[in-house]
Amino acid sequence: MSAMPTTFFGWVYFLLQEYGVVLFKGAVVTLLLAIVGTLIGCVIGLIVGIIETIPEDRNASAFSRALLKCEKRVLDAYVEVFRGTPMIVQAMVVFYGAMSLFGIDMSPLFAGFLVVSINTGAYMAESMRGGIDSVDPGQKEAAIAIGMDHFQAMQCVILPQAVRNILPQIGNNLIINIKDTSVLNVISVTELYFASKSAAGVYYKYFEIFFITCVIYFIMTFTASRLIRWWESKIDGPDAYVLVHDPLADPTGIVAPPITAIPKKGQ
């Protein structure tokens, strides 16, 4: 074995060579957990948000009204419980609880996906409700007035705007998830923190390893936040619009004649 490094950056370089691949794999798992968890969480949030905002229909049967009320209560409970307890505890309860209560031996990674998704879903449900409320109710009315039902109005008019309005929160959640999936090391998910801890133990170089880990986490979160920003501006579209027959719209001043105005051959 060659001589051990003596400086801080020497160690960083050395450890990167030794454990770079391990850390990279850990980072991939972290990203996967965060992205998939956020996506599924958004879907859960969307569904909960839509159900929570279904208006009470006075003409519906007593049964379907009671059912809807029940559903809303259950969803309320879900949101409160999963927002109100730490994800690290949820991971333990889900992973070991599934085993001892139901005899389900799920892989740590699967339990990880489950916990992150459900946890994010609880937060997104509230964000989504806020997003739906933020769309001016007149548009919902107009959608109803041209004959759409609640779900069509949601799908075509309200949700596209609600999702746009809560994109910053989705971005927040993604970044939080990239960082907070580190708690899943308690159920031995080999994400970035778990990988770093293992690597640090070999040479007792905690500072050096976690310096590298820190940089990797920051690169991931910074990229995620920029991507969300870019997505926001993409949804918003350009500020200007093009008039269809306006000669001034073309900067060259040369306007192509409308196709219908071109005389056909032989005429």
């Binding site: 007149g138 009315e141 107009a142 007035a145 041209i146 004959g147 008019v157 705007q161 269809v244 027959h245």
Partner: protein
Amino acid sequence: MTTDENNIPVLSVQGLHKSFGDREILKGINVDVYKGDVVCIIGTSGSGKSTLIRCVNFLEEPTSGIIAYHGEDAKKAFKNLPLYRAKVGMVFQQFNLFNNMTVLENCMVGQTKVLKIDEKTAKETALENLKHVGMDDYINAKPKQLSGGQKQRVAIARALALKPEVLLMDEPTSALDPEMVGEVLKVMKTLADEGLTMVVVTHEMAFAKDVASQVIFLDQGVIAEAGTPDEIFNHPTKKRTQDFLSRFNVLAHSNQD
């Protein structure tokens, strides 16, 4: 069309009551709207004009009473309320365009989603109606890029794109800057001249006088007086109608001078 069908009103409001909690807003309203009619509903704020027009397409659920469509209870004749609403178009005071869509998409979405018309036909119909209101140059614009008058003209095109039999308009010019009221009224007048059946809640007395076939003066939840524009504006019989109109007449005279 047979004379029989002409004798049956397209829309008929019968014994309409509407309460919000303890407050009774509409106290028994009867209105018949025949094909080609332009019914203008006038009255003070809080008299129940908007509630009346909103009850007609069930945006507000009537407490009691019947809305009949071609002589049949709309609630019973249309198992599917959305299809009735497509037949009875609505234009709002606040335009309520869909902000996430372009002008063209606003006029297409109802056709494709509710009437299940294919994209190509829907686009043609949308363009036709946008041209009619003079907004066909702006098909790529988003609502936030338009002025109030332009928005309202698009909203009218959106409603017309569903080929409604009746167009309900709830104070279509009240939210507009004064210089934009004219462009919207012009469109409305064109539609009336073409024979579109309309029910218009309005404060534009000049429009009601010119265009209406029937004027209804609503006061405190009841129809205080109804008749032709000539009867209502030139020979009102009720004191309340006279009082209400006297406030507008002052304005009208000063405009004419």
